[in-house]
Symmetry: D2
Amino acid sequence: MRIGVLTAGGDCPGLNAVIRSVVHRAVAGHGDEVIGFEDGFKGLLDGRHRKLDLDAVAGILSRGGTILGSSRLERARLREACETSKDHARDYGIDVLIPIGGEGTLTAARMLSDAGLPIVGVPKTIDNDISSTDRTFGFDTAVGVATEAMDRLKTTAESHQRVMVVEVMGRHAGWIALESGMAGGAHGICLPERPFEIDALVKMVEERFSRGKKFAVICVAEGAHPAEGTMEYKKGEIDQYGHERFTGIGNRLAAELERRLGKEARPVILGHVQRGGTPTAYDRVLATRFGWHAVEAAHRGDFGMMTALRGTDITMVPLAEAVTELKTVPVDRMDEAESVF
Amino acid sequence: MRIGVLTAGGDCPGLNAVIRSVVHRAVAGHGDEVIGFEDGFKGLLDGRHRKLDLDAVAGILSRGGTILGSSRLERARLREACETSKDHARDYGIDVLIPIGGEGTLTAARMLSDAGLPIVGVPKTIDNDISSTDRTFGFDTAVGVATEAMDRLKTTAESHQRVMVVEVMGRHAGWIALESGMAGGAHGICLPERPFEIDALVKMVEERFSRGKKFAVICVAEGAHPAEGTMEYKKGEIDQYGHERFTGIGNRLAAELERRLGKEARPVILGHVQRGGTPTAYDRVLATRFGWHAVEAAHRGDFGMMTALRGTDITMVPLAEAVTELKTVPVDRMDEAESVF
Amino acid sequence: MRIGVLTAGGDCPGLNAVIRSVVHRAVAGHGDEVIGFEDGFKGLLDGRHRKLDLDAVAGILSRGGTILGSSRLERARLREACETSKDHARDYGIDVLIPIGGEGTLTAARMLSDAGLPIVGVPKTIDNDISSTDRTFGFDTAVGVATEAMDRLKTTAESHQRVMVVEVMGRHAGWIALESGMAGGAHGICLPERPFEIDALVKMVEERFSRGKKFAVICVAEGAHPAEGTMEYKKGEIDQYGHERFTGIGNRLAAELERRLGKEARPVILGHVQRGGTPTAYDRVLATRFGWHAVEAAHRGDFGMMTALRGTDITMVPLAEAVTELKTVPVDRMDEAESVF
Amino acid sequence: MRIGVLTAGGDCPGLNAVIRSVVHRAVAGHGDEVIGFEDGFKGLLDGRHRKLDLDAVAGILSRGGTILGSSRLERARLREACETSKDHARDYGIDVLIPIGGEGTLTAARMLSDAGLPIVGVPKTIDNDISSTDRTFGFDTAVGVATEAMDRLKTTAESHQRVMVVEVMGRHAGWIALESGMAGGAHGICLPERPFEIDALVKMVEERFSRGKKFAVICVAEGAHPAEGTMEYKKGEIDQYGHERFTGIGNRLAAELERRLGKEARPVILGHVQRGGTPTAYDRVLATRFGWHAVEAAHRGDFGMMTALRGTDITMVPLAEAVTELKTVPVDRMDEAESVF
């Protein structure tokens, strides 16, 4: 069997672990041939590809990024790109294509699949917002980086009697904010799923200080926004990929808190640090299992599907089902955290 | 409501996170009172306890160990201890007892529950071998520590053309070896669940060297043992708690490999480093959720149960069900790892 | 002997290690009494202090922040504060005061010393810019945090063909940028000591991309600024403590690079994460040695001095000498880095 | 100029950083050619070498191990090897050889230099025991790994009322034990430089427990040994490289403490984990500076010398001076630590 593999969309720790696992299982396990396309669908469109054998993936398990490179596909060019991709995949003799990517990539994958190309998808998002899978790799690493930052900030906040506002990733789903906020012991968590009440946040911080506590840490998702009419705020622009640009809720919230509290409030914007570097053990295992099962699915002819974690099992779910709706944080998870405003 | 809490058995990162979460939910959420017993059931038997308010649990989320101390209960004294515990719990006006512990503790908890004491258990084991829950806290931290050690050992093994044998925890279940072996890219994994074939291990290493690879890493669970008749080996003694002492499979395997391969093979025994220190974000979140749900179960009168992770949900399962059998590594998980011998 | 200790100025990993070491050496070694003043000189002025015995410092060696709290002293109130401090120190029967702090604190310390109060200073700055000492504690931790961030950013930059601009601390001295830039393999380093040439930076990045490299990382100190006339730039305001506010060189440099290169350039502002959390082993050892030698100096009557690292030795240098000039990055250190623009 | 480079002896984080720095400075800075010999002097003897250009060293700064491989030279073959090496170096047109290694390597380097080969050495030892340099790279990483292990062990020791004995590297010099013991807050430190008093250790632990402390951590160098007649002990064998094999002081000390104290005492042998993996920022900077200055020395014709750190400067010292005596821990450093037995 000749397997094509590509990585597309934003960076995500664990991509290399999937690539390595696909190659190990396919080449060593089944005697397949694996072709890697460079820079996502662009490489498939342009014909930039290389053979991936065992040596090509040696030592990459613990490396962040993707040895294949990545790119985003503009939404407008999606349909055209699908046609070309399909033709090229056939030109290169690809029996099955394993695209590893997020919502956009899986949508493209579904279109390719509908157009007749054998596809087995592997979901990827550090935001953990793909439905049909309990978790996605990269998320655990991002949560770990954000938690470590909050651990560090707490001691400095405590010594200097100050409020820290930590902005973490999460445009439409607040999973990183929720879990790193819980793990980092944030006193307030603001999620895209629930417009936050600035008055309640201010009151919580004031109560902490009145109880003799000397600091507070607020964890805010980049996509969080205040309840209407409670704080000056304007929506972000829409970028060329159809994403709303959310810039600066961390900065704005810190400024607003400082103004209302009369205490120092400092923003820390974690940004791309959350996306890069060595994946956690959890993410390496999940990514490795996804890769292994993607190859098995390909050999079973289980096309138009993607790998998914359900409980402790890896199962296959239809691509169609996977991309219909975003998995957002449900209310009962907010209740557990006890600090979602 | 008056809630008693205690931690028993071996150390496990996340214990403090459970204690903190129980106190937060009970005291701040429900206006309960929380009493902590010191050194596990011993403190309950001896009447050593202290009140746990919000200040008592400040800053402990990220700390390893347990602020309450722990101890193991000798199996022989279990029944007697249960009777006394029950009486004492009533003397202290405990409406519900939340014991946080492993198999032994949960067995004791079940006996206490059968004897009429309201109990909500929280499972704890770094070995991840309690059935009825997808995962237990502490496991992710242990896997992380073992993976980081393998990351470090790989570079030194590679530079010096040597075989490294890393012994990790896991007496009866090989979850730590399986997942850290996968995450650390171990070339061989030996689990308690499957007697390993020393010949096959030797052959794998020889093939690696013949392909120009300069090193190999073997990850072995402390409870792993060779297939009968393949290597000199004797079973460990039974200690006073009913556990078999497994000492030294790492050392013995390294010696055997060195003898057969004619190459340097060095053992590294990770030991207690896996059990201590700051829990990972994953373990802090899981432990916090367990604590929260234990208090909710207590308020619902959901006694004789323990918290469990199923998929992404925390559910309650009967203690009776939880301790009947050990959750060991199934064959399909070994297949995925591709390097279990 | 009755020793007063206080921590002042910005946060710095290792402060607790100094406090612990002072207490250990003084109490256990000499049978002294140690009094800790809260929130820096403020506590000395307000009479807020507490006894520090061995139990009070148990477990703090690895903790960031300062158990005594800190504050900054406004420059305008310095002389007045010194008078009051001197009187209070006598009121509390302090035989020697050990202030742990940066340039401002050591200047105050020198004034107090000149006014007749027995003082042994301990220098503290994550910026490493105090002359007379080879290194200060906290610096190694800050460099470590910044280096780890660059390690993470490199993989994501590489996969997405992007320029990353990492802003690190350093208002007047670029030591953190220099050493984290070298350790993180930054392709460009911008220091306060040398106005950077934006044209040369742009050219370097273009040459990298033309050689097939897919990314570049620029490490910029918060106090760096462009060579005159080369890029739009205005100086920051002076804050109430006499410090120039440098905000945003990272953001501005990223925007300028993106405009000139026609490639994505993303800023990452590390901020307070560099100041907090567990100190590295290096910083713990240096802080511990400083504390030990401060107590020894106090017992020798070596007043008006501060501890300093010279080579591998801890020596005492006059406070007068210590605060006369800032230790900036010399040209030969820039040459070694090979990437200072 | 044509520069040969090789790495020899035990593994040490930072070796790749030196290689990279030599190549960067030589190739990009001076237009030189760099040849790397594989597996230390063996590669020079066997003629196994490869060209090292900028691409060959891309991405290795943060990687442990050595891309060139390493080997130990048997002491008996030293003189013969030198002759052959000298001839081969001339055959390959090497203008200067930069060997990176420890005491054995530098001794060989000195012999080669005396025999007329232009040599610039770079000292390497995680043990930090080479005189003439304040520090060597790799040491900081080893201390960091050992300190992190002690941080982890402390929480588990505290919760379970147990003594932990941590054996760290250091055959003849106790620097790693001293500094990680200080940084990890060990209550007892045993060094090769001072035979330890088991009675005093036992007394210290008993006093701790009598003061209500629930644990103790002892940090012991692998080369430490008890004062004569105080504890059963036999010296190790001499291996083929002339090193005494010290195996098991950690295990033996734990057993002895358990016997005398009647409390659980557990050994943890850190072993090779200390030698591998990502170097700390400190070690990367020091290694990078050594590489840079080695090339500069080569261009100045400063042969028969090695790089050394003196205070904050890199200087050149004669190889002859460097290897005459081992740098051991002096008494005043033991006094500072306050817990050396």
